[in-house]
């Protein structure tokens, strides 16, 4: 240890600690994704496959045994239509050609029939796995910056997502209740009496099974699991598992007499069912009622082996059942002890009881389902083959498409087996910050419809794990979260490491539960006051818990056990518990270890970190820093700053800034804002235009915005550099005056300087990419990309094909507007069933050209022609347009102060200062008092200092430059320390009576642009079903004249206007009705007459003008067999 005792500890400053914090993030922002994915690739998948081996197939011709060993994953590749296999594909090619970036999975399989080896160990391709971009199996992870740029990648792109059919998809972390742990809750039973319930969500290899123990005070404890809905007495279940000695059960449940006595009723209920056989028969009667006895017992055994606590084991041996019994007893103990108040019920919102599901557990679920489906098919095929001959190889019977289809479909839609939706999402590429934030998102599976107030609240254990600022408003508030900077997520320890850990426990004097059983039989009795758990499972006992914890932590700091392991210690009045956690999905944060009030980090060490000779990983190995999860943190006392260290502290916070997420940490002076303002900004920063990625010119996202003159913020936080906002900025530094803007900045509007806009304030380029695929049809015909000829069905008129070159594609750099064809294409007529070769003359080709969206215009920027996986020609055409800021566009500062442009004022008419500075933007002073965004006012000062001094100014919350410093610096520069200046009216030249607050603030242009929203309609298309005007801007729809608007006209008495809106301009229609029967008549084309459906020619038909929607209703009623009679009356005066 490099600790220098002579050094006073206060020498460590916050800046020093920030150096450590920086090194903590050296792995990037998405390392949690990589680690989880790589675990799955390296161990998870192999373990899953192993858990499915061997497979037995019983047929008439013998028993086939299919064995799997050795799973390997190749490098990303694609099979072209001509059968060519290419291994040099790049993500950027996948994006362009709508391919899936995936790698093949091979499994070594062997087949044994009746003990004879038929196929010895054959390497079979069973399917593919999508490759996480920049993970270890992605070639990109090994390339240099220059190589990355050469193959069209942004060197700063974080990776961590997948490319499925050309679109980038992220697996969003799911926050779930911790599996394999006992959670005791109090439920409100009937008649208001409390009920106690202990629940375990057992989960292994993506399979889940729940067991619940329910206790009503005074009654028996019942167990509910799998198909047992009514519950069985838990004692019977224990006996079925082979635990027949009542004394043993009682002692395992609790060491307190009063708790043990609560079991009395449970034992009474289980009377008469004493042996395991009796108990199994009892369970069998519940699950397989009405079958033969032998079968009932068999089912019962199968159930307790595979459905009960499967994470402990699924085999039927005695040891496994004994472990389950021990687990159940422990659950029972916790349940009863809670009921008498010895323990508190579990806090479901405590982060110790939460786990994040990342790629590994989610892929495990998906691949388990996909592999079972594949296996079913293999079995089916083998069964059929063995009937006639012996299979020589296995690869013929493995249809990799079965696996691929399931996996690809799930990834492409986000629909996971088990009904979970939205597991994968389209990666947000609005700007770089939005991308990073998306990759660090955490989603709670709780429905957003219900209140779940507690689940939405910020919990104490969120500190340093979940960003307290960044969460959406509204229905998803508090359910969608973001990882804090300092947070990390654990992955499963490889099974070998887990075994070592147990060995370590035994060597530290833990007595295994199995051993205590034998001791008990031998008659020896010893009491241990400490229970030892590993991942929620009681594994043994110890005499001195505190000592064990100390030794375990020391072993971890020495590197003897993995740093991802956490140790938690809890003392109750009757016993102590030591819980060791190794499982995946725990959110940890790194803290500096403190011993006797002295942090283990020295100034010299900080220097070496600064130089880069010591990495964060080294600090971990040296035992200077450790990962602490939410449960272990309960035993820690963490000092916030080095100054506040006392001897009772166990840890020191690296930096308070690490509690923020990526977005919140870039808000300068956020510690001076009212908290909701920071929340608003965190949401808005993700909508700001900026530079989404350096390879924007090669990207074919359907929509992409680019800020043309992006600037790095003058006032930044220490994290802005770290995230890369300096290199992929999301706004511009504007001179902002706080004053009224001639009435044009009322109600949160802003006034922009027209000169500034002309010089590039808010100037952006927006791109839209159109996609056309020339499909091949069954008849052998293909879509053709050419200029359609007049006479083609659906021909749009010559002027629309103006920009097409002879190849059917628009000429690059030609100007296009709504309706203009950019890719000319014709499709062959559709055939219904058979394969017909009609002569060319009989065929009527349809025009299926791609046109520019109505209400959009621009210049054809680029066209890419490629072939997709099916060998079809794929054309992507991108249209670009330049967007100057205009009235109605949305802008926002970094403090939740948003507004639309209310007016553009010519430069010469804008107010100016004595020195001739003209503001770029005028914000109304009313924006500040009630919102209390003091941060923006300070930023304004800091921006002014930075602009004059030509330096960056540190606005980091808590540790940035103080207001006093800024004021004195401003004063030294010859400005007023308050930030106000004398200003003159640009129109009259008169001096304003008050001084105006002017400074430099970083502004973002948000992607809500008027030109994408402006819309009006006078005439146009109607809907098929109701014949009412279409809806929505994209289809030239009408604006809804709704119920409340209708009420206004009625109240006003404007009946003709009402008629016009609701009938004439909507779905006016004329139908003939028969006066005799009141039914709509029909037009008989052959007789050229209008006939009544009832009276025929004798009907008296009259034309009626009505709403088509009403006519539709009448017809729907008639179709249901209801007779709607319309009684007609002659209109007056007609």
């Amino acid at each position: 240890m490099q600790r220098d005792k002579g050094e006073p500890l206060t020498d460590l400053s916050e800046e020093h600690l920030w150096t450590i914090a920086e090194s903590a993030i050296e792995d990037g922002f998405v390392s949690h994704h990589f680690r989880s994915y790589e675990y799955f690739i390296r161990y998870g998948l192999a373990e899953l496959v192993k858990s499915l081996s061997p497979q037995e197939i019983k047929t008439k011709y013998g028993t086939l045994v299919l064995k799997f060993e050795d799973v390997s994953i190749g490098s990303p590749r694609i099979v072209e239509v001509d059968g060519m296999v290419r291994e040099n594909i790049t993500p950027s090619e996948c994006r362009l050609r709508n391919l899936t970036y995936e790698a093949p999975i091979y499994v070594k399989m062997s087949l044994i029939i009746d003990g004879r080896v038929i196929v010895p160990s054959e390497k079979v391709h069973i399917g593919s796995i999508p490759v996480m971009v920049r993970s270890s199996i992605c070639p990109l992870s090994k390339l240099t910056k220059e190589d990355l740029m050469r193959i069209g990648e942004d060197p700063l792109d974080p990776g961590g997502y997948f490319i499925i059919n050309g679109s980038e998809r992220v697996i969003v972390a799911i926050e779930d209740l911790a599996p394999n742990r006992t959670l005791v809750t109090i439920k409100e039973g009937n008649e208001g009496a409390p009920q106690y319930s202990a629940v375990v969500l057992s989960s292994v290899f993506g399979r889940q099974s729940k067991i619940e123990l329910l206790y009503k005070p005074g009654g028996a404890v019942k167990a509910f699991f799998s198909r047992i809905y009514k519950g069985i007495p838990v004692i019977i279940l224990l006996r079925a598992l082979g635990m027949t000695r009542d004394e043993k059960i009682v002692n395992l449940v609790s060491n307190r007499r009063d708790v043990q006595e609560l079991l009395e009723q449970s034992f009474i209920e289980a009377e008469g069912i004493e042996t395991p056989q009796d108990a199994l028969r009892y369970i069998g009667n519940r699950v397989a009622f009405g079958y033969a006895e032998e079968f009932r017992v068999q089912r019962a055994e199968q159930m307790i082996d595979t459905m009960l606590l499967p994470h402990i084991g699924t085999t039927s041996d005695r040891g496994c059942r004994y472990k389950k019994a021990v687990y159940l007893c422990d659950m029972l103990g916790r349940l009863l002890e809670t009921s008498v108040g010895l323990r508190k019920p579990s806090d479901k919102d405590h982060y110790a009881n939460k786990r994040l599901k990342l790629a590994a557990p989610l892929l495990m679920e998906l691949y388990r389902v996909a592999l079972t489906r594949l296996l079913r098919d293999i079995k089916y095929q083998l069964e059929r083959v063995v009937a006639t001959r012996q299979p020589i190889n296995l690869s013929t019977f493995v249809r990799s498409n079965i696996l691929n289809n399931i996996v690809r479909h799930s990834f492409a839609t986000g629909n996971w087996p088990g009904g979970r939706v939205g597991v994968t999402q389209l990666l947000n590429r609005t700007n770089y910050l939005a991308t990073i934030s998306h990759l660090r998102r955490v989603q709670s599976p709780l429905s957003r419809g219900q209140p779940h107030f507690e689940a939405r609240d910020l919990h104490g254990t969120h500190w340093g794990r979940i960003c307290p600022v960044e969460t959406p408003e509204g229905s998803n508030s508090g359910l969608v979260k973001n990882l804090a900077f300092g947070a990390d997520v654990t992955v499963t320890l490889p099974s070998g490491v887990k075994k070592d850990l147990r060995e370590k426990l035994w060597s530290l004097g833990v007595i295994s539960t199995v051993v205590t059983e034998e001791e008990g039989r031998g008659g020896k009795r010893r009491t241990y006051n400490t229970k030892v758990y590993v991942d929620g499972e009681l594994v043994g006992f110890h005499e001195r818990g505190e000592e064990l914890v100390r030794q375990l932590k020391e072993a971890r700091r020495n590197g003897e056990i993995s740093p991802m392991v956490s140790v938690y210690y809890e003392k109750y009045e009757h016993l102590t518990e030591v819980e060791v956690f190794t499982d995946e999905g725990r959110v940890t944060r790194s803290l500096i270890i403190v011993e006797k009030g002295v942090p283990k980090i020295s100034l010299q060490l900080v220097e070496t970190v600064k130089e880069g000779t010591t990495k964060f990983r080294d600090l971990l190995d040296m035992g200077v820093i450790e990962y602490i999860d939410a449960s272990e943190e309960e035993n820690c006392l963490v000092a916030l700053t080095p100054k506040s260290l006392t001897p009772s502290h166990t840890h020191l916070e690296i930096s308070p800034l690490l509690m923020f997420g990526a977005v919140a940490s870039m808000i300068p002076f956020s510690d001076h804002n009212q908290s909701p303002r920071n929340v608003y900004e965190a949401a808005m920063a993700k909508q700001a235009l900026g530079v989404p990625a350096l390879n924007f010119n090669l990207r074919t996202d359907s929509r992409l915005h680019l800020l043309i003159h992006p600037q790095k913020p003058i006032v930044n936080t220490v994290t802005t550099k770290l995230i890369g906002i300096d290199k992929r900025p999301i706004g511009q530094n504007l001179v902002v005056a706080v004053m009224t803007g001639m009435g044009y900045n009322m109600e949160d509007a802003i006034v922009l300087n027209q000169g500034a806009v002309a010089r590039g304030v808010g100037l952006s380029m927006s791109y839209r990419t159109y996609e056309v695929e020339a499909m091949q049809y069954r008849g052998g015909e293909k879509d053709r990309i050419i200029i359609p000829e007049p006479g083609t069905r659906g021909y749009k008129g010559e002027q629309y094909y103006r920009v097409l070159d002879s190849d059917g594609l628009a000429h690059i750099e030609s100007e296009v507007s709504g309706g203009t064809v950019i890719v000319g294409m014709i499709s062959p007529p559709r055939f219904m069933e058979e394969y017909v070769r009609a002569s060319a003359r009989e065929m009527v080709w349809r025009d299926s050209s791609e046109t520019v969206r109505p209400s959009e215009a621009g210049v054809v920027d680029n066209i890419w022609i490629s072939r997709n996986e099916d060998g079809n020609k794929l054309v992507k055409a991108r249209v670009r347009s330049l967007c100057f800021a205009e009235i109605g566009d949305k802008f926002a500062s970094r403090h939740g102060q948003k507004g639309v442009v209310g007016m553009l004022i010519p430069h010469e008419d804008m107010p100016y200062t004595a020195s001739g500075i003209v503001p770029d933007l005028i914000i109304n002073p009313h924006a500040f008092p009630s919102r209390m965004t003091v941060g923006q006012l300070i930023e304004s000062l800091a921006g002014k200092v930075g602009s004059v001094k030509a330096t960056d100014v540190d606005g980091t919350p808590f540790i940035g430059k103080s207001l006093d410093e800024l004021r004195s610096e401003l004063e030294a520069l010859g400005f007023r320390s308050g930030g106000t200046e004398v200003m003159y009216d640009g129109l009259t030249g008169r001096r304003f009576e008050v001084e105006v607050y002017v400074g430099v603030v970083y502004y973002q242009r948000l992607h809500h642009i008027v030109r994408d929203k402006i819309h009006a309609r006078s005439r146009g298309q109607v809907q098929l079903l109701t014949r009412q005007p279409t809806e929505g801007r994209s289809r030239g729809g009408g604006l809804k004249f709704g119920e409340m608007e209708r009420d206004c006209l009625i109240a006003y008495g404007a009946s003709y206007l009402l008629l016009d809106r609701l009938l004439e301009q909507s779905d006016r229609y004329t139908v003939y009705f028969c006066q005799k029967c009141g039914l709509p008549a029909y037009n008989d084309l052959r007789q050229e007459k209008i006939l009544c459906p009832v009276h025929g020619k004798e009907g008296e038909v009259r034309p009626v003008t009505l709403s088509y929607a009403f006519y539709l209703l009448l017809n729907e009623l008639i179709s249901m067999g209801i007779y709607p009679k319309v009684v007609l009356e002659e209109m007056e005066g007609s």
């Binding site: 239509v81 059968g83 006479g791 809907q1023 289809r1035």
Partner: protein, 309 residues
Amino acid sequence: MKSWRAEGICPECGNQNLVTDPKTGEVSCPECGYVVMERDVDRGPEWRKLEDEEGDRSRVGAPLSIMYRDHGLSTVIERVDEDATGRKLTKEAREKMLRLKKLDQTSQVNSSETRNLQQAANVLEIYVDKLHFPQSVAEMAMTIYRKALKAGLVRGRSIKSIMAASAYAACRLSGMPRDLREFERAYPLVKRKTIAQGYRLLLKYLNIRVPIADPAIYVSKIASRANLDQRTVQEAVRLLQEATRRGATIGKDPVGIAAAALYMACQETTQNITQKDVARAAGVTEVTVRNRFKGLKEILEGEQPQSTV
């Protein structure tokens, strides 16, 4: 009374090319300017805001697919033991439904024809999987098979052989290079010769006209297996075009010729590769490569293209 809609003719001037303007919703005549119809119906996908009724907006199910014996249109009894209200079924009802389900299932695959198609579809799936057919080729193969079945060509032959032949024919028709050796490797239960027999049968009775296989389409595949670069591929394709022009490829196995052309191209781009390697990559014998190579060389180096035919 025929409407303009049926004929697509302007009632004023008789112009045949009426134009629809989606912006105004009007169908008009570009010649005389007559507005034939207002308020045209929007034929795009139905799109309504059904925020509270979540679920998809489509009114239809999956499209018909020729890949299924029933075109994907059959109705099956679900395996859920709940009634419409979500209550569990009684034991008797559950057993009854199970029986009905089984009966229903067996009754669906009753005729020999549907059973036949079911089996054929399974075989086709294997080829699709192993040989990486695009969906369109698979559908074409199924169409051919259905025709063969109707024409009675499958009787007396195995389902898989005719299915394999149909798949091969579909490949040839759509210009996807898959040779018979690959078919055999993908599914060894059907031998190359059987497929060839079936294929000739299909050509004869179903009147399928197949374009002559162009050796050039095999080049890139062989090249990728033999690890040859793009330059060699281009050179080989150039050589083959020349050879085809001179008629040297007629009547020869296109794969063999492609392999020979690649070998020849390798010599010109000075890539070191043996005939054996090329032969292995192409799946033909060394002898074939050598003979085709000789033939190619003679023709390409000889000045009189006519004499060699």
